[in-house]
């Protein structure tokens, strides 16, 4: 890769960044013990995937990748609204946000 580094950035760096963001989201999903923070980790994963979509749209000069990101954003907005409403309902019923205590469906 003999690139002029002052002018341009290899797209693989963007892809690596998106992979790291996704992995950090998965780690957050596993280690966080607060329901809202777990939900935020899911948003982090969505953002990591969106970055790779935009990167590939730039690579292939296709607008479809960006449109996909647009739809992912809309679905994420709907998901956040419903998810936070569910969190409020769970908090009303159990008076806690700790995932260790919300284990009614655990085997």
């Amino acid at each position: 890769m003999n690139l002029n580094f002052a002018q341009e950035v290899p797209l693989s760096w963007y892809l690596i960044l998106s992979a790291i963001l996704f992995s950090l989201g998965v780690v957050g999903f596993l280690i966080k013990r607060n329901l809202i923070t777990v939900f935020m980790s899911i948003e982090l994963m969505l953002n990591g995937v969106n970055l790779s979509f935009v990167t590939f749209a730039q690579q292939w000069h296709e607008v479809k990748g960006q449109i996909f990101v647009f739809f992912v954003m809309m679905v994420a907005a709907a998901e956040a609204a419903v998810g936070l409403a569910i969190i409020i309902a769970v908090f009303r019923a159990r008076a806690t946000l700790a995932v260790d205590r919300i284990d009614l469906m655990k085997l």
Binding site: V9, N34, Q59, Q66, V82, I88, A89, R92
Partner: protein, 179 residues
């Protein structure tokens, strides 16, 4: 210039994501997530997606994160107690995450033909229409039906959120007459 901007905002992005994991108070995590999303908007701008950068700031860093901080403050979420997670998370989860990251990174680094991004290198079609024109043309002609279905989805989500959050469930004394 592009490299400096990329390193700056990618670093900000990673720092915010790691801070999200390290903070124990949810409100600090939410603020770190706002940092992540705003720096991602700058990265979108550098990748030639102006519309998505604006939408990222408005929808994600604006609307969704306002909703998050609102719920955190409404529920008065306190510091989480640290536990070490479940056994499944420790034995399967972290090795799996490491393996997935390693595989993805290897594939990306081995991939041939990946180009490089320059500043002011937006998407243009043969006629020289800008990115936003191309995107809106596709969105409102070929993909009109999915676009409209998305608005119905948002409407249903609003109704569902209202129905879920307004239901005054198992509060013993808060029950008043007919629900």
């Amino acid at each position: 210039m592009h490299l400096i901007l990329f390193l700056l905002f990618a670093g900000l992005c990673l720092a915010g994501a790691i801070n999200l994991l390290l903070q124990s108070h949810p409100i600090n995590s939410a603020l770190s997530l706002i940092v992540v999303m705003t720096s991602l908007a700058v990265l979108y701008l550098m990748l030639g997606a102006e519309f998505l950068a604006a939408a990222q700031v408005i929808v994600y860093a604006g609307a969704i994160m306002v909703l998050f901080t609102f719920v955190i403050m409404l529920l008065n979420a306190s510091r989480e107690e640290r536990t070490l997670g479940s056994k499944a998370a420790r034995r399967v989860g972290f090795p799996a995450v490491t393996a997935i990251l390693a595989v993805i990174a290897t594939v990306i680094l081995k991939a041939q033909g990946l180009g490089a991004a320059k500043l002011s290198d937006g998407l243009t079609d043969a006629k020289g229409a800008t990115n936003l024109e191309v995107l809106s043309t596709v969105l409102f002609t070929k993909l009109l039906l999915p676009f409209e279905v998305t608005s119905v989805l948002i409407l249903i989500a609003i109704l569902g959120a209202v129905a879920l959050a307004s239901h005054d469930g198992s509060k013993p004394e808060g029950r008043t007459g007919g629900r």
